[in-house]
């Protein structure tokens, strides 16, 4: 960790690396995040509408349910779990392959701090870009719920808008962004660690990739619980 966050050899190269990683890890993930968020928003809308059968529960509660589900849990935590699979396996296998093909040794021989050069830009890119992904996911999830709610007729335009604005707490978004920052750090650092310490051949690269995804997923769930207790309780 100390080596990873040591001073870069050349700031301009590291800055370019961060932009490259934002493009690969961040922008490259927007497609899958968009698809999942829209459909989950739609499913929450339909499920909520069919479960709110008590006449005392107003139908605009559907909008509240979609909004709070997306903001509090789905966009920060579930999207992070999905990204742990996508980004985590990519990071671990990329760095693991570099290790077994001696590319990391080549960096070290040149006098480059390989841990810092390879891992630091990935962590920075993930942490910096995670709020954008989370807000993007929240927006698309709520929009998906709105569109599919109207298309299926389970909720009206007026009721849904009332629902998503009713008793809205901006702090929930702050809570989601804090969580997503911590999860983004885990998503980049844990698989990078497993990739960096890969030894052997292609089989071990696969194992490192699996370990990276599993451990980062478990850590995300654990930190989800801890942060929820700390920030919301």
């Amino acid at each position: 960790m100390k080596r990873t966050f040591s001073k870069p050899e050349k700031f301009s190269i590291y800055r370019n690396r961060v932009f490259e990683e934002i493009n690969i890890l961040g922008i490259g993930s927007l497609g899958i995040v968009a698809i999942i968020s829209v459909f989950i928003g739609a499913v929450i809308t339909i499920q909520s509408a069919f479960n709110f059968i008590n006449p005392l529960v107003p139908i605009y509660a559907v909008g509240c349910a979609v909004r709070d589900s997306m903001i509090l849990e789905f966009s920060p935590a579930i999207i992070s779990l999905i990204l742990a699979g996508k980004i985590g396996s990519s990071v671990a296998s990329e760095i693991g392959t570099m290790r077994i093909t001696e590319q990391i040794d080549a960096l070290e021989i040149m006098g480059v701090n390989s841990a810092s050069y390879l891992i630091q830009p990935k962590i920075i890119a993930c942490v910096v870009f995670s709020p954008i992904i989370v807000i993007f996911s929240m927006f698309l999830g709520i929009l998906g719920g709105y569109v599919f709610g109207l298309l299926t007729g389970v909720v009206t335009n007026y009721e849904y808008i009332i629902g998503i604005t009713y008793n809205f707490r901006p702090y929930n978004v702050v809570y989601a962004l804090i969580k997503s920052g911590v999860f983004a750090f885990i998503i980049a650092s844990v698989p990078a660690y497993h990739g960096y310490y890969t030894s052997g051949g292609s089989l071990e690269v696969g194992r490192s990739s699996t370990k990276g995804v599993v451990y980062s997923s478990v850590l995300i769930l654990a930190f989800d619980l801890i942060l929820t207790q700390l920030l919301l309780a």
Partner: protein, 220 residues
């Protein structure tokens, strides 16, 4: 030149020399500077004087040939983009590799990869060049081309080159001082003229392992 059977410890030795493996005992001296006694910063400074040719080339997969050669220049020099490109092209021409600048390592043959790796190693004008089995996986003709290139560059840039190999053709072709490693220890040391005449049994078994070499021995 460091020679020896597979598993005798040649690669471990060279990795210890360049600081990729830690040592249990002894010293690694670069112009009287003991590498393992130095601070992290000083080690990095020595590493900037080292070029290394890895067995598989160790080219960066995500970068083109030109970007691979430019990389150490970008990291450790303040040259402009044009100057870096000029230097990279010079190094690539020096290893007889033209018109490959935009290719990726996956598009190169084994011999071309080795040449790019040499070009990358000499880009920052190292004082020491370490080569880990530069001929592995190459045909005899390409092997000689790589051997000669290493020798020419060594003489041209006046650098100290240490080559690990188990290829006797290379030893005869470019060997100057030869160190034979046996079971992780120094088994023999001498010149290429001496190695053909030595009485050391392990060295004899190694040098004359092939039928061809045995026949040569009986003829001369």
């Amino acid at each position: 030149m460091i020679i020896g059977e597979s598993g005798s410890g040649k690669t471990v030795l060279i990795r210890c020399m360049v600081g990729l493996n830690d040592i249990d005992a002894g010293e690694v001296l670069f112009d009287d500077r003991n590498f393992y006694d130095l601070s992290f910063h000083s080690k990095k400074e020595i590493r900037k004087e080292i070029g290394m040719l890895f067995q598989g080339g160790a080219l960066f997969d995500s970068k083109t040939v030109e970007e691979n050669v430019v990389f150490p220049l970008s990291m450790f020099t303040d040259l402009s983009e044009d100057e870096k490109r000029e230097r990279a092209n010079f190094c690539l021409q020096r290893v007889n590799l033209t018109n490959a600048n935009r290719l990726f390592p996956s598009e190169l043959s084994g011999g071309m990869k080795k040449r790019v790796a040499i070009a990358r190693a000499i880009a920052v004008q190292p004082k020491y060049l370490f080569c880990d089995e530069p001929n592995s996986g190459l045909d005899p003709k390409t092997s000689i081309v790589i051997d000669n290139l290493i020798q020419e560059i060594t003489e041209e840039y006046n650098i100290t080159t240490i080559v690990i190999t188990h290829d006797m053709n290379s030893v005869i072709e470019i060997g100057d001082k030869i160190l034979f490693i046996y079971n992780g220890t120094k088994g023999w040391e001498g010149s290429k003229q001496e190695i053909l005449k030595t009485d050391n049994k392990e060295v004899q078994d190694f040098v004359y392992a092939t039928k061809f070499m045995k026949e040569l021995k009986t003829k001369f």
